[in-house]
Every structure is written in C-alpha cells, then in structure tokens.
C-alpha cells in the first residue's frame, strides 16, 4: 500500500493510529485519580509531541542516513518560527501561508549554511553548523531585536497590519491562528466515566503534517536517494570512486532536513504565535541530537519516540512537586510516606534534569540502538515465547 512494502505499510499505519488515537492513549488514567499527573493528553503537549517528532524525523534524514552530525539544526527551527510569526503578523492569521513560508525560509537558510558547512566532514562539519547556529542565536537575541523581538520573542499584536484579514479584528483581542476560521486552539472534550479526552484542532493539523512527514521519510529511506545517503555514511571513498559526487546528495539531505525543521518551527508558531531566540540556542540543537540518538538514530520510528520521551519528561516530571508526592503516598503510614517522598524528591519537580541525565546514560549504556532496540528486545522476547507456545501455527504462516 502507498507504494511501500508490507513492513513499512504496517509501520505507517501504526504511526497513523498513534496520532489519531493519541487523545485516548495519552490519557490512560481517570481525571480524578492520583495517576492523572502522568496523563499527557492535553493539547499543548500533544502538539509538542508531533511537532518535535517532525523536527526529529527531519534531523534523522541527515544524521541517521548520511552520518553528518549537525549541531546547529535548531537554527532552522528558529528561522521557521520567525518566518511564520511574521506571516501571521503581516499577511493573514490563516496558518497555511505561515507554514509554507516557514518551510521555504528554513530551506533557503539550510541551503546557505549547508553549502558552506558541507565543505568539511566529521567534527569539523559539526562545529561549523554549531558556529552558524550560535551566531544566529546571539544576533537574534540582541542586535536583531527589531526583527526578532529579542529575548522576549516575537509575538502577534493588536495593531499588526495583516494585509488579507486585518480588518476583521477589532474586538480588543488578538485573533488566534486559524485554518480558514477553525482556530488552532479549539478543542472538544469527550467525557466517558471518569475519563476525559480532548480533541484539539491544532493537534490534528500538526498530526496530519507529521504523518505526511513520516511517510515522506519512509519514501526517502527506501529510495535510491536514501540508498546513496546510506552509502555516504558507510564509505565515502568508495562512493567517490563509483563516479558519484557526494556533495549534492548531502546538501539535498541537509536542505530537506532543514525544511523539516522549518516546518516544525512554522507549526509551533501556528499553534502558539510566539518565536523566541532561545529556540536557536545550542541546547535546542543538542536536544534534537539527543532525541535522535535516544530513540535510535537511523531507524524510522526512533526519533519520534525519542522526541516524545524527552518532551514527556520536560513537561510531566517537572510538574511533580512534594505536594503531589504526598498525595500519592498518603495511604501509607506517615513515616514511610515521608521516607518515600524524601527518596523521590531529588528526581522529580526541579530535579527532572537529573532524571533525564540518568536516563540518557542508562539508555546509551544498555541499549546502544536507543529505545527502538529496547522495543526490539521486548518484541524478540515475546516472539520467542510465541514460537514455543504455538510453533505449528507459526510455521504455516507465510514468511514475509
């Protein structure tokens, strides 16, 4: 289906299913229960999952396939965000032009930076991209303040011109980004028993883009172009002696990956019309590197998992405070309750960084292939069990 083989089709269907049913999957706990703290099914976080998913998928096209480790990818995300907010300010509050322009602007920016940086390989390439991104960040936060809003960030305002639909506003409130009248922040709730599921317009728009981005990335992975990129990672010498100039291929991968980042930035600004300079900082670039490696660089689904994992930590673990801990363990005797709270205290709330650092170390030590390898190991565990359980059945099934 979709021009993919059976395995890839299945993967794509799984991703589509995850995106469509995320409002249910992310809210497994009843709203009133103590575990509701772990629910992630609210619009902002779900939007972040898919948007950073797009960012990580794009990064993986460059890093996972060609092995070129860009340490400045956040610059494209930031450039995309700025472009999108400017579109929302100047042209129309409709998100379509914002998303398109942000992708194109980031692509152009990537073409420029890639053209220069790809003259070098290995760590020299990494440092070149880092240098460009840090320059973009430093300038955006200071001397470019008139264009970027500086450290405060670029926002929409009441008196924005909005050439196409500026006349419509005048209610005293800034209009929210919308898709032909459907505001990105619109949500519907569905309450079933103690559960409540939220369906958010912006999330589904972003989700649609992520499914498209994922599908495109499968096509790239399986195409001859993707094969060339893998060949670059494996052995550039041989590739050159095979009559191929690797530069156009790496540059194409770099630009595609930059456009993915721009798309993510554009979507981010469409969900929430703000673009800040710190989106371009090296820590933001480092974050996407960590997402890809944590999830499993070079695999299709890995980066998406990594993105979800890190964003979950950042948004859920940081909100667990001592109060919440006490609530959880309230049923225990006071002594044990206090003991448990004391033990957990350093790892949650303001200590979420510590937990994240530990997880990075544990994953990379025990699962060199990232979370995907963890999944495969669990899968193998089950399939081995299955084989012993109903081996006659398994034998009759045609091999894929």
């Amino acid at each position: 289906m979709f021009g993919l083989n059976a395995k890839d089709t299945r993967l794509l269907l799984i991703v589509i299913g995850l995106v469509v049913f995320a409002p249910f999957l992310m809210n497994p706990f009843p709203t009133d229960s103590g575990l509701a703290q772990f629910n992630a099914g609210y619009p902002d976080l779900m939007q972040r999952f898919v948007i950073f998913g797009i960012f990580a998928i794009g990064f993986n096209i460059l890093f996972g396939l060609t092995g070129y480790l860009s340490f400045g990818h956040a610059a494209f995300l930031g450039a995309g965000s700025y472009a999108a907010v400017w579109m929302l300010k100047l042209l129309t509050i409709n998100v379509i032009p914002a998303i398109l322009i942000s992708t194109l602007v980031a692509g152009a920016f990537a073409l420029l930076i890639g053209f220069i940086s790809l003259r070098r390989s290995g760590i020299y390439f990494s440092i070149l991209t880092l240098a460009f991104a840090q320059m973009a960040f430093a300038l955006a936060a200071s001397v470019l303040t008139p264009i970027t809003g500086g450290e405060t960030g670029l926002q929409t305002a009441l008196n924005d011109p909005r050439i196409l639909d500026g006349a419509a506003s005048g209610t005293g409130n800034i209009p929210a980004p919308a898709l032909f009248g459907l505001e990105m922040r619109d949500s519907w709730d569905w309450v079933v028993g103690g559960w409540s599921f939220t369906f958010n317009a912006g999330y589904y728009l972003a989700g649609l883009f992520m499914i498209g981005a994922f599908y495109l990335s499968i096509l790239i992975f399986r195409s001859p172009f993707g094969l060339m990129l893998k060949a670059i990672k494996t052995n550039q010498t041989r590739l050159n002696y095979t009559g191929l100039n690797s530069r156009p291929y790496t540059l194409a991968a770099f630009v595609i990956s930059g456009m993915y980042a721009g798309l993510a930035g554009g979507l981010m600004a469409s969900m929430d019309p703000l673009a800040g300079a710190e989106r371009m900082q090296w820590t933001a670039s480092g974050e996407v590197v960590l997402m890809a490696i944590l999830g499993g660089a070079g695999t299709l689904i890995g980066p998406v998992l990594g993105a979800g994992f890190i964003k979950y930590f950042e948004n859920i673990f940081s909100k667990i405070n001592d109060n919440v801990l006490h609530q959880w363990f309230a049923f225990m005797p006071d002594g044990i309750e206090n003991f448990l709270v004391t033990i957990l205290h350093p790892f949650v709330g303001k200590g979420w960084h510590l937990t994240l650092g530990l997880v990075f170390m544990l994953v990379v030590i025990f699962l060199p292939g990232g979370l995907v390898e963890g999944g495969q190991r669990i899968g193998r565990l089950f399939s081995r069990k299955k084989k012993t359980d109903d081996s006659p059945n398994a034998d009759t099934k045609p091999a894929e």
């Binding site: 790239i220 041989r238 009559g243």
Partner: protein, 252 residues
C-alpha cells in the same frame, strides 16, 4: 597511442622524491602490471591516476583526455574504475545494494533525485545487479551484509561494483594482498574470465609474482620512483637489471 598515457610524471613529498620522470603507456585491451619493491612509488603513481594526488610535473591522459585536476568521481565517470588494496565497500549495506549504487551512478554523473524515479527503472537496475552478481558467483549472498563477508568475497564484491559500470580501464591495487593461495588462484581465474568476456584494459599493481606472471601481458618495473624497464613477462623474468633491483631479493 595507448589508452592511458603517462608522461614525465614527477611527485615530491617534502624532501622525498616519490616519483620522477615516469613514462608509461598502457595499450587498450591489455593487462599491464606495474611491479616494484616497497617504496618504489607504485601507490603514489596509482593515486596520481585517479585524482587523489596531483603530480607536480608531467601529464596523464586517458583516451586522449587529461586526467590532471579532475576529482575521483569525474575520472570514474570517464571510465576508470579502481579496486583497492583493502576492499572499499559499503559495509552497512547488503551485497545487492552495494552493486545497485554504481548502477545508479550514471555516466553523465548528473545528480538526480532518484527518489522520484519510476519503480520500473529500479527493476532494470536490479536486473543488471543480479546479472553481475551471477557473474562473480555471489548471487546467493545478495541479501547478506557486506561487512560480514569473507575477505575474498569482499574483493569479489568490489570487483562486481566496478564491473557493473562497464569500465574501459580497471585499476587493481594489489588485488590479492593478504589472500591465501587458493583465494589468490580464484581471483586470478575471475580476472581472466572477466578479461575474456569484456573489452577491458587492466592495470595491476602487484607484489605477488605468481599473479603477475600468470596474467600480465606487459610489465613495468618501478624502482625508486622511476621506471626501470618495461617488457613482456618472459623478457622481464630474465632481465638482469630487474633481478638486481627486485627479484634478487624476493627469490620467487
């Protein structure tokens, strides 16, 4: 006029004169071996042919066109393929994919977004890849990871990758280095077979006299960066200068 003409080539690394005044002509459709003791400048010469090094003096022409200043991939596009001393293959990819990549690399060398090309075209490529794998007896290993192949198979794969591009000149850098005698003989047979089936010129840099004398039609002996003598294998064997410079110590 040979297919490959090397004229007055010299190359200097700091204080070391690696090559000086090398003149060499490789005739079309012959197997031409270049031999010489360690440090004679064989590898330097080879690197000057493929664009990895640029000679300080002299000229290198292939089919009348100069090779100097061209990059490796451009030289390859002119019809020159190279086999390395340690096989350079795409270790992370399967054998089939390894052979498909040179198929995609079209002679015009234009960068194409192959992602959007038709599936049918891919099938053609797959067919020619299968054909060449049959030729080198590796069809049954097509789905193996290239890195997991034996050294002999890696060498074979590398040759398949070169041959699938139908090169006019094949440069072989010690193709049997580090091989067991049986493997060496297999390789010689393979090369001979290739030579029979195709119009191809081969230039071999080799240490192993057994290989050289069982295949080469012309031999150039290189010593201290300059050609000592060039002749047929029979004449080389008995050449006193060669014995003195090279065979004397090797005792084949």
């Amino acid at each position: 006029m040979g297919i490959l003409e090397i004229k007055n080539v010299g190359k200097r690394f700091g204080g070391l004169q690696a090559l000086s005044d090398v003149n060499l002509s490789v005739e079309e459709n012959t197997v031409h071996a270049i031999i010489g003791p360690n440090g004679a400048g064989k590898s330097t010469l080879l690197n000057c042919l493929v664009g990895k090094l640029i000679p300080d003096t002299g000229s290198v022409t292939f089919q009348g066109q100069s090779l100097l200043g061209r990059k490796p991939h451009e030289i390859n596009q002119m019809g020159v393929s190279r086999v390395f001393q340690t096989p350079e293959i795409f270790g992370d990819l399967t054998v089939l994919e390894n052979v498909m990549i040179p198929c995609f690399a079209h002679r015009d060398g234009a960068f194409q977004m192959n992602a959007i090309r038709s599936v049918r075209h891919q099938n053609d490529i797959r067919e020619s890849a299968d054909q060449i794998l049959t030729d080198v007896n590796m069809l049954e290993k097509r789905n193996m990871h290239a890195a997991s192949l034996s050294r002999g198979d890696k060498r074979r794969l590398e040759m398949a990758m070169c041959l699938v591009q139908d090169p006019k000149l094949l440069l072989l850098d010690e193709p049997t280095a580090g091989m067991a005698r049986a493997d060496t003989n297999n390789t010689i047979d393979l090369l001979k077979e290739i030579k029979e089936k195709r119009d191809i010129t081969m230039a071999i840099i080799e240490h192993d006299m057994h290989v050289v004398f069982s295949m080469a039609e012309r031999i150039t002996v290189l010593a201290q960066g300059t050609p000592l003598v060039e002749d047929t294998p029979e004449n080389i064997k008995g050449h006193p200068k060669v014995r003195e410079a090279y065979l004397g110590e090797a005792q084949v």
